[in-house]
């Protein structure tokens, strides 16, 4: 396969002012090959993808496509040549039907087409991505996020591309949706398409990729066959050094008096009120796929999601937060899963981000104390290995991993006793991931009670000390440390009632 190269880039360099994003990188992909593209945040993956797709034209180096030297002037030119990119962010129009979205560009269908005709034309493309069961006339926003990603790919396939670039297609997806994406990629390969698969989830890379290209600091490593490597070897290539064990060691925990008792919390998306305790020094995991209700539980505990009822017993007090302020005042921090939405002030300096929850503590009589702010944010920046020199920069210029560190790090400013984290490492590279795990573990060791909700099966198996699992709003079970295997957890969060042969609704009643 590899001897029949479809796309070849050699000695590609690209700089943005003082920052050199790519330094003589090389990339190739054969016909009908799945090439994994991995690297830490800031390694140059996005830049390379943009260059391949014609979004970025200011590079130097050779670009061969289908045996010819090309230099695409625009994404449209690249698309006509058969190179399509599925971006991380969905670009579907949510209020239009699936079929209308697929033919949004208007080619391949008559100028005037009835909805029925569009639907009929859309059907084969939907089948190709594994959405054959979906009615093409359905409004797109009624589909799950995973299904929407598949529709996005279906739209690209409608142009019959030769190379399809998938940029972290599963970053926002749960386990089952991810599997659908992977199945689809394999089907595309069987039909002779080439796929460039960019992902932070290394297990996926090994599951589907033929070869893997690693980028590190803008330089590429020669592509290697996925079968010749294991996860550790790959991580080593990405980082340039050995990572050791990514997950910090757990210490034995004595569970005597809980820091926080949750009683009869009942947010939307959860079928019956739930109660649980969190003890000082432990990391409690809430395991569940997207839509299992774990996000809503964390949100309801701090008043950012509505709850039908329930109370928190904390610090000798019984209360229910009706807005995040109520929780913050008591020292309960909640780091949400979507840092761009409500985790960061992207246009404001990193320093202001880090001190945002604790403005009161760095000011007196309504006046900010600049020295105090600088001191406390510098301390937290160092804890999260964010360069304190960057404090005056806008948070938006940071890479995803560093952004997540700031989003999480800002909560240290209120010295929280309870820390709730939803998806602590979404879209974060391996190196930053290990750091975040270590920081969470250190905080727990210092006596904080931590609750982590995650859809990442590796993370939820290896980080917490105890797990409560959820499936579609139903609490399935509590797993202690000795029962916490990936297989156990996966069964509970994907197909818990299989053996008993009962439906979810029955269990709920």
């Amino acid at each position: 396969m590899a001897d029949q190269l479809l796309l070849q880039l050699t000695n590609i360099s690209r700089d943005y002012g003082a920052i050199q994003a790519l330094k003589g990188a090389t990339f190739e992909i054969g016909r009908g090959e799945i090439m994994g593209l991995v690297g830490e945040n800031g390694a140059g993956k996005s830049t390379l993808v943009k260059i391949i797709g014609g979004f970025d034209t200011g590079f130097t180096g050779e670009y061969f496509y289908d045996g010819e030297v090309r230099h695409f002037g625009s994404p449209t030119a690249a698309e006509h040549a058969g190179i399509a990119i599925a971006q991380q962010e969905l670009s579907l129009i949510p209020t239009m039907s699936v079929a209308e979205n697929i033919f949004l560009a208007g080619d391949g269908v008559p100028q005037i087409a009835s909805k029925g005709l569009l639907g009929k034309k859309a059907k084969p493309f939907l089948e190709e991505v594994g959405l054959g069961h979906i009615n093409p006339m359905r409004v797109t926003n009624r589909l799950s996020v995973g299904e929407q990603h598949l529709v996005e790919v279906a739209r690209l396939i409608a142009h019959n591309p030769q190379v399809l670039i998938l940029d972290e297609p599963t970053a926002a997806l749960g386990e089952t949706d991810s599997i659908r994406i992977l199945d689809m990629v394999k089907r595309l390969k069987d039909r002779g398409k080439s796929v460039i698969y960019v992902s932070h989830r290394l297990d996926e890379i090994f599951k589907i990729c033929d070869r893997v290209t690693v980028l590190r600091d803008g330089e590429s490593q020669a592509p290697r066959a996925a079968t010749d490597m294991d996860v550790n070897a790959l991580v080593e290539l990405m980082l340039g050094f050995e990572l050791g064990d990514m997950y910090p060691a757990r210490k034995p925990i004595t569970r005597e008096t809980p820091t926080l008792r949750v009683r009869d919390l009942w947010p939307d998306g959860i079928l019956e009120p739930i109660s649980f305790e969190v003890y000082p020094g432990e990391i409690l995991g809430l395991a569940g796929q997207l839509g299992s209700g774990t996000s809503e539980i964390l949100g309801a505990m701090t008043g950012s999601t509505k709850s039908r009822g329930g109370t928190l017993h904390y610090n000798g007090e019984e209360f229910m937060a009706s807005r995040p302020k109520d929780a913050i005042r008591r020292g309960i921090a909640f780091c949400s899963e979507d840092r761009k939405h409500d985790g960061l002030f992207l246009g404001r300096p990193i320093m202001e981000n880090l001190s945002a929850p604790a403005i009161e503590t760095i000011s007196r009589n309504g006046l900010l104390n600049g020295a105090k702010e600088r001191a406390s944010t510098t301390e937290n920046a160092i804890k999260f290995t964010v360069d304190p020199k960057r404090l005056p920069q806008e948070a938006g210029v940071l890479s995803g991993g560093n952004q997540q560190k700031v989003a999480l790090g800002k909560w240290l400013s209120i010295s929280p006793k309870v820390i709730l984290v939803n998806e602590p490492t979404r879209g974060v590279d391996v190196g930053a991931r290990a750091e975040i795990y270590q920081i969470l573990r250190d905080l727990a060791d210092q006596g904080a009670a931590i609750v982590v909700a995650s859809t990442d099966i590796q993370e939820i198996t290896n980080l917490p000390d105890r797990i409560i699992s959820f499936y579609r709003g139903v609490r399935i079970g509590d797993l202690q440390l000795d029962e916490m295997t990936s297989a156990n957890i996966l069964e509970q969060i994907t197909d818990p009632f299989h053996e008993a042969g009962i439906a979810v609704s029955e269990k709920a009643t």
Binding site: P324, D342, F345, G347, G396
Partner: protein, 357 residues
């Protein structure tokens, strides 16, 4: 900021230093500002006289103070108050009506009232006007804070305030006798020949900038404006923020109304619709200043200092055009072009900085 950007500044020349320390937007705006002044000074004989400079700043003062108030609303991510001129209209009617009321019980029954009687009248009228402005601001702020669309809320409020003012004054000019207690603010000057309203503009500009930079409230304005959801998640709700910012804008509008009334010893609900500024419409003028100053419409980026400079900039251009004999239509056109231009520059610069990431 300078010492933290990690580059050693010794080997950079002057232009490189400026490019490092200031955003392109600031550079463009300051450059344009200088250009207008230099061009104005060379092309127009009377432009750079002490008298004319005073005139420019005095003309900028009234709209400038209003624009500074509105900047808080814009920075906090609550768009604009489209009711600025109607708030001023209601305020000026309220103020003039109370100024003209028979307060003679504090002074001799016949002859000229004493100074203290005049001041008492003024203070009562001023306080009442400010209270009304606070209420109008809080009302709009609360509706916006609850999730009302700022455009719809403030357009509705505009009709309401104008209606009340018009009804109250029977749509007539409300005038009061000179001497009165507001003359010092309207036309007086304590420091040499610098009008007091100019001094008030400068003081308000400085106070507003200090508030934004160094107070907890100012920081919250920026945070909530930069990302409302993140603001809520970190304990800064937009509800209180919208109310506070709208009150600031509303009180500034009322203050301008009082000062203007002090100049002309009268009031009419249409004073801010037709007889004011080059564009003839106070609301549009004030929004233009906020925009030309380079504040982000989306909030979270900008400052009242920029607004103040924007006011002086627009006033300079206006002044130059008057000196060169342009009619009011051409001046309105110039203001419109400046808004469009500043929006384009702003969008391009912001997009440029994104691309570099």
């Amino acid at each position: 900021m300078t010492d933290a950007t990690a580059m050693s500044g010794d080997d950079l020349n002057f232009i490189q230093r400026i490019r490092r320390d200031y955003s392109p937007l600031v550079i463009i705006m300051v450059g344009l500002f200088l250009f207008v002044f230099v061009a104005g000074a060379t092309l127009t004989d009377d432009f750079l006289t002490w008298f004319n400079v005073k005139t420019i700043i005095r003309d900028a003062a009234l709209v400038g103070i209003m624009a500074i108030g509105l900047t808080f609303v814009t920075l906090s991510g609550n768009f604009f108050l489209l009711s600025m001129k109607e708030i001023a209209a209601l305020s000026i009617i309220c103020f003039a009506t109370l100024m003209g009321a028979d307060w003679n019980q504090w002074g001799p029954a016949d002859g000229d009232p004493t100074t203290s009687a005049l001041m008492t009248t003024f203070l009562v009228a001023f306080a009442a006007t400010m209270i009304i402005a606070t209420i109008t601001g809080a009302m709009q702020g609360a509706l916006i804070g609850l999730g009302g669309n700022p455009i719809v809320v403030t357009l509705g409020a505009a009709g309401l305030f104008f209606g009340i003012g018009s009804w109250w004054s029977d749509n007539l000019v409300v005038s009061y006798r000179r001497p009165h207690g507001a003359e010092w603010l309207g036309t007086g000057s304590f420091i040499g020949d610098i009008p007091n309203i100019t001094v008030a503009f400068i003081i308000i500009a400085i106070l507003a900038e200090l508030t934004l930079r160094y107070t907890t409230f100012g920081r919250q304005v920026y945070l909530v404006g930069a990302n409302r959801a993140a603001g809520r998640a970190t304990g800064h709700e937009n509800f209180g923020m919208a109310i506070k910012c709208c009150i600031i804008a509303s009180v500034c509008a009322a203050f301008v109304a009082v000062a203007f009334s002090g100049q002309v010893s009268s009031a009419h609900v249409n004073y801010f619709s037709s007889e004011f500024g080059s564009s003839g419409d106070m609301t549009i003028m004030v929004i233009a200043i906020v925009m030309v100053g380079g504040n982000s419409i989306m909030g979270g980026y900008g400052s009242t200092l920029r607004t103040s400079l924007g006011a002086i900039f627009i006033s300079s251009i206006d002044n130059m055009m008057v000196l060169n004999g342009f009619n009011s239509g051409a001046r309105v056109l110039a203001v419109g072009l400046m808004i469009v231009f500043s929006i384009i520059v702003f969008a391009l610069v912001r997009r440029g900085s994104r691309a570099v990431e």
